[in-house]
């Protein structure tokens, strides 16, 4: 360790040898009438030193130059160190602020200037015999005869604020003030902060004392701990006292009055228990009316929202990052609400912190990463991310709002089917995946004009009307026929002529062929049938007298009656007697036609 620091020292000194520094060292707080030194240091041979002008200070001696040079050879590397000091002894004459103007030196023809000093002078109570050496080390004005008052040495826990809102950062500093030499510490109990989230900002390994003005007294003070506190509860929060035991060296007089006694003081170590008073911090709740997007942040923040890419393919991973920057209770802020499209597969939010502990609280950034995988393509709009915090400086809630983000998801060319299967799993068991759709129709297309239907067409109406018409016609025809069938006599009457004519036609054909028997048969049947039909009598009742009587009643002339009867008789004769009468056939046929025509007109 020592070796390392020596090396560091060496390294530093080598640098400064070339850098040619000119620095000044003086205490920043002195008591009135105290004699102290101001030391100017240069690291090269000085050609000319210009002393500073002093105001409020009395120059006692100096500037007194002193030189120091050393040569080190470490591992064959030679290092030369050279230093020249100019020391001025001064005394403060009055309380207030004394100023020392910059001193300057000339090194190698170049002018170097130190910085100006302002030294606080306090009234104090010392005798003026002390001589602060500028390093703020323990002073040798150890109290005599053992008594160490609580003014000589005390612990102090100071807060940057004592009235805060919940979540507002407070810096607490635990300091030791002393005017007596300290030999060591024991039983240190650091404060416990109940109701606060606390973090140590500073935990010095070596305690460095600096001179400090406290209640117009010059003390050597040292920071033991520095904390950042974030109140987590509201109300009056009490910080419990912290304790420590200090070993203090006190000078004891030998008791004798000899000169030697006064020269050779003896020292004695006493223990003194120090404690801080308990402190109370008033924590007010945050004002009501916090926006919905309030994430517990108190301080000053900025927000940045980014997408990992503007355009990705479906089923590929992407993320949205919300970066919150600023100072305040940044480590305790909650995850902002990000409304990703419902169609995205979302994963756990990843949080990344990078804080630095400043003297006024925490600052840094917190990055929230929202990973997701879009499962279908399209242009997705992510609504603005809102994040609210409470601004201590402005005393109100401030809402940060990002821009609307747009994400274009392109179709995934290679893995569409497999991914679809994945999304189908939670829907139902996947069936039929191996099979394909059925093949197209290749037969005739049966094309029809769009929007045309048989039911609504004129054809349909026409068909219905046609059926109705056909029905009516058929009905009528049938009715007619029925009527006719109902009057059989009339029918027979009407048909008589037609039947007779057919028979006569047949008879004529037999006549032409010279067939006698069939001729007479037909002629006979024609005549009898006609009469039977016309007079509506059955063949069985066809007696000669009955026929004559009926014909007479119908108003047929006797001549015609006789003609008919004789013709029938002739036919009967010819049919049954087989008598040959060639020449008569023609005449009988003509007579039959004549008599039927005559009767037809009269019956």
């Amino acid at each position: 360790m020592i070796r390392l620091s020596a090396l560091v020292f060496l390294a530093l000194s080598t640098i400064t040898a070339y850098a040619q520094n000119f620095t000044v060292d003086a205490p920043n707080v002195v008591e009135k009438d105290e004699i102290f030194r101001i030391v100017y240091t240069a690291d090269a041979e000085v050609e000319e030193f210009t002393a500073p002008e002093l105001s409020g200070l009395e120059l006692l001696a100096g500037p007194m130059p002193s030189r120091m040079s050393s040569t080190n050879i470490v591992n064959g590397v030679r290092t030369d160190v050279f230093e020249i000091n100019y020391t001025i002894m001064v005394r403060a004459r009055q309380t207030g602020v004394a100023t020392v103007s910059p001193a300057s030196v000339k090194i190698d023809g170049k002018q170097y200037t130190s910085k100006a000093l302002s030294i606080e002078v306090v009234a104090g109570n010392s005798s003026g015999s002390s001589s602060g050496n500028g390093n703020g080390a323990q002073e040798s004005n150890a109290p005599e005869n053992g008594e160490v008052s609580s003014e000589d040495i005390f612990l102090k826990l100071s807060f940057s604020k004592t009235k805060v809102v919940r979540g507002e950062p407070i810096v607490a500093t635990l300091k030791l003030y002393t005017r007596v030499p300290i030999a060591g510490f024991e039983d240190v109990k650091f404060p416990v902060f109940n109701g606060f989230w606390s973090q140590e900002l500073e935990t010095p390994q070596n305690i460095n004392f600096v001179r400090e003005n406290y209640n117009n007294q010059v003390y050597s003070s040292a920071v033991l701990r520095r904390y950042i506190l974030l109140p987590q509860q509201t109300g009056d929060l009490t910080v419990d006292p912290s304790y420590m035991v200090c070993q203090i060296q006190i000078r004891t007089s030998g008791g004798g009055l000899s000169m030697f006694d006064s020269f050779f003081d003896t020292y004695q170590t006493v223990r003194k228990r120090l404690s801080t008073p308990s402190a109370t911090i008033k924590v007010n709740p945050l004002p009501s009316g916090a926006p919905a997007s309030f994430g517990g942040g108190v301080g000053d923040f900025t927000m940045e929202v980014n997408l990992s890419a503007d355009s990705i393919r479906a089923h590929e991973a992407a993320s949205l990052t919300v970066e919150i920057n600023g100072s305040g209770n940044i480590n305790l802020i909650e995850t902002p609400f990000v409304e990703l499209p419902q169609d995205f597969e979302k994963y756990d939010v990843k949080t990344d912190n990078s804080f630095s502990n400043g003297t006024s609280g925490l600052s840094g950034k917190k990055v929230f990463e929202f990973p997701f995988i879009p499962r279908s393509e399209g242009l997705f709009v992510i609504p603005p991310v809102k994040y609210s915090y409470y601004s201590i400086r402005q005393g109100r809630y401030i809402t940060l709002e990002s821009d609307t983000l747009k994400l274009k998801v392109l179709p995934n060319s290679n893995a569409s089917s497999s991914a679809q299967v994945v999304s189908g799993v939670n829907k139902q068991s996947v069936v039929n995946l191996g099979s394909d759709i059925r093949y197209i129709f290749t037969s005739s297309a049966d094309l029809a004009r769009k929007g045309r239907f048989l039911i609504a067409s004129w054809y349909f109406a026409a068909a219905v009307i046609l059926i109705a018409l056909l029905f009516l016609v058929a009905d009528k025809v049938l009715k007619e026929r029925e009527k006719l069938r109902g009057d059989v006599r009339r029918t027979r009457n009407r048909r008589a002529n037609k039947v007779a004519r057919n028979r006569l036609k047949l008879a004529q054909s037999y006549l032409a062929k010279g067939l006698q028997a069939p001729f007479y048969e037909e002629l006979h049947k024609a005549l009898l049938g006609y009469v039977s039909d016309k007079l509506s009598i059955q063949f069985a009742e066809m007696q000669r007298d009955a026929i004559i009587e009926l014909l007479e009643s119908r108003g047929i002339q006797a001549q015609e009656r006789d003609e008919l009867i004789s013709l029938i008789d002739e036919c009967e004769m010819a049919r049954y007697s087989q008598q040959q009468s060639d020449g008569a056939m023609d005449g009988q046929y003509k007579r039959a036609i004549d008599i039927i025509s005559t009767l037809e007109n009269k019956l």
């Binding site: 759709i437 059925r438 197209i440 037969s443 239907f453 048989l454 039911i455 026409a462 046609l466």
Partner: protein
């Protein structure tokens, strides 16, 4: 009278034969089928589309277009055309089968509220024939009704008359049913109440404006019922009864 009936019959016959006359479309049809069989789906699609743009339709055309879209991995459009085919011929088994397969690729699973069993049966009976087939059946049945009515009016025997009266009444009932089915199917084919979601993601909102709350999300290929329209927004209903407002451009009427 007779002559006018003959003319009517002649007109009817002519009109039936006119439908299958357009040789241009037949050629396109065959060419498209050829492309499809060779796996050239893009060309097949453009040929089928040409037929459709010519104003000619049939469930077979819609079915083939749907198959082509399916092969081109346009699932939403393929479902749309299967639905259109079913609209013209609700009983076609091939269309139903392929629609089922195409639906497997969609994301949304929506519970369908089951119908009363009698309604289902009647629906099945109704869908077993196409609109035009029912119309033809109804004409046949009307002819039968007329025949039995004539028999009833003019038959000689009392038994024949009675039985023909009963048969005539039954035929009349069936004829009316067939007519209702045909009209019903035509109404379904003509109405434009149903639609298929065409965009990958369709936000259904509680009000017909952008600021409305998102109620649910529909994905490509989901069938919805369009209830009303206000400007560019449509009120839609899912088959499970949920309702909301969606952009009219997000879906396509079947």
């Amino acid at each position: 009278m007779r002559n006018s009936i003959y003319t009517l019959i002649a007109i009817l016959l002519c009109s039936l034969s006119v439908q299958a006359q357009d040789s241009d479309y037949t050629e396109l049809w065959n060419r498209a089928n050829n492309h499809y069989s060779l796996g050239e789906y893009q060309q097949a699609l453009s040929d089928y589309k040409e037929i459709e743009e010519g104003g000619m339709v049939s469930y077979k055309l819609y079915y083939n277009i749907a198959n082509t879209y399916y092969k081109l991995k346009e699932d939403g459009l393929s479902i749309l055309y299967y639905e259109r085919a079913l609209k013209l011929n609700p009983s076609d088994k091939d269309t139903k089968n392929n629609l089922e397969i195409a639906r497997l690729k969609t994301l949304d699973k929506i519970e369908v509220i089951p119908d009363f069993i009698l309604t289902v049966w009647i629906g099945k009976l109704k869908n077993s024939l196409s609109c035009n087939a029912w119309a033809k059946v109804s004409i046949g049945l009307l002819v039968a009704v007329a025949f039995f009515l004539l028999l009833y009016r003019h038959a000689a025997g009392i038994v024949l008359r009675k039985s023909s009266f009963v048969l005539g009444c039954i035929m009349l009932f069936f004829a009316i049913c067939a007519l209702i089915f045909s009209f019903n199917l035509r109404g379904k084919a003509v109405n434009e109440d149903y639609a298929i979601v065409m965009v990958p993601v369709c936000n259904v909102k509680s009000a017909p404006n952008v600021t409305g709350n998102n109620l649910f999300i529909l994905h490509e290929g989901t069938k919805i019922e369009v209830l009303e329209q206000i400007e560019t927004w449509s009120r839609v209903e899912l088959s499970d009864g949920r309702q909301g407002w969606a952009q009219s451009s997000d879906f396509e009427i079947i």
